[in-house]
């Protein structure tokens, strides 16, 4: 018969040898690969859908979308006409933005990765003993005898039987179990747009605002002197001095419209 209290395995020892790096890192790596593939797809989508490609110059030109801005403008009343009601006209202004800037591209990224790893270690011990003993014995005999003496005779018949049975049974059941669960949850947030794409969008956004072209009126004479020295090693052979004079117009003022 086994030990009445056999030792159960240690739960901590069971978790010690687990490849946690693979268990946690594997799904995260898969998510990263998926993100990478989606980024490539996203880039291709941007180039195909949001840009026009000129094969001759190898230049991608952004596809522009016209936006409208409607606002009410109070029309000044004619002071010479009495009892005039104020009038508000709707003025529509149009401007263009790149299609790239209004497509929600960053929603392509994997925004959530949940890894739940449940491990159950079950240590159990069970013992069942069943003993059964049965004994049966049966015996039977019969006899017949005849005896005679003179004119007398007698017949004797008889039988003897014996039956015996012994039975014993023992049933023992012993069970012990232990279990543990280990759970890991990892969350990866939404990835922002790549810095380059954000820069492009910002550049386009800034380019929407109109600027004032510089006024060119003053003429300035610029003199450039070129000094050319030629020779070998430390020896100077020729020194050429040339002077170039040209007149350019310089801006009086530059700035953005307020």
């Amino acid at each position: 018969m086994a030990d009445a209290n056999p030792p159960l395995i240690s739960m901590a020892e069971q978790f010690t040898g687990l490849p946690m790096d693979d268990l946690i890192g594997g799904p995260l790596n898969a998510a990263a690969k998926a993100n990478s593939m989606m980024a490539a797809t996203q880039t291709q989508f941007m180039l195909d859908t949001c840009f026009n490609y000129d094969e001759a110059t190898n230049i991608y030109t952004p596809i522009m979308v016209t936006m409208t801005l409607k606002r009410g403008v109070l029309v000044p009343v004619d002071p010479t006409v009495p009892n005039q009601e104020p009038k508000i006209d709707v003025v529509e202004t149009t401007f263009e933005v790149p299609l790239l800037t209004i497509i929600p591209l960053n929603s392509l990224a994997v925004d959530s990765v949940d890894i739940k790893f449940d491990m159950e270690v079950k240590s159990s011990f069970s013992e069942t003993t069943n003993e059964k003993s049965e004994e049966a014995m049966a015996a039977e005999s019969s006899f017949q005898a005849k005896i005679g003496y003179g004119i007398f005779s007698a017949t004797i018949t008889g039988s003897v039987s014996y039956d015996s049975a012994t039975s014993s049974s023992r049933d023992t059941h012993y069970e012990k179990s232990n279990s543990a669960q280990y759970s890991v949850a990892v969350h990866a947030g939404q990835l922002p747009l790549p810095a380059g794409v954000t820069t492009i969008i910002n550049a386009f956004s800034n380019a929407i605002s109109p600027i004032t072209m510089p006024v060119l009126s003053e003429e300035t004479e610029v003199v450039t002197e070129n000094l050319k020295v030629s020779g070998a090693g430390a020896k100077t052979e020729t020194i050429e001095v040339s002077r170039e004079t040209k007149t350019i117009k310089t801006p009086l003022s530059t700035g953005k419209n307020k």
Partner: protein, 66 residues
């Protein structure tokens, strides 16, 4: 459009007040009003099909990847 779905905002070109807007609604042609000056901004009507086509392509890619 209800304000609950307007998670994005952009500065009003006129008064610089943030205009809450929904990118999908914007692409589908919805107009969004500035809470400051009541100016309305949106995609020009004739440009909506092109923007919607781009959005459909994007949704198609998302479906393929999911």
């Amino acid at each position: 459009m209800s304000n609950s779905s307007l998670s994005n905002s952009m500065p009003c070109p006129i008064c610089k007040t943030n205009i809450p807007f929904d990118p999908i609604g914007l692409i589908k042609g919805a107009q969004f009003a500035c809470p400051g000056c009541q100016a309305q901004i949106g995609i020009s009507g004739q440009e909506v099909p092109r923007a919607e086509e781009a959005l459909e392509k994007l949704e198609e890619i998302k479906k393929q990847k999911s």
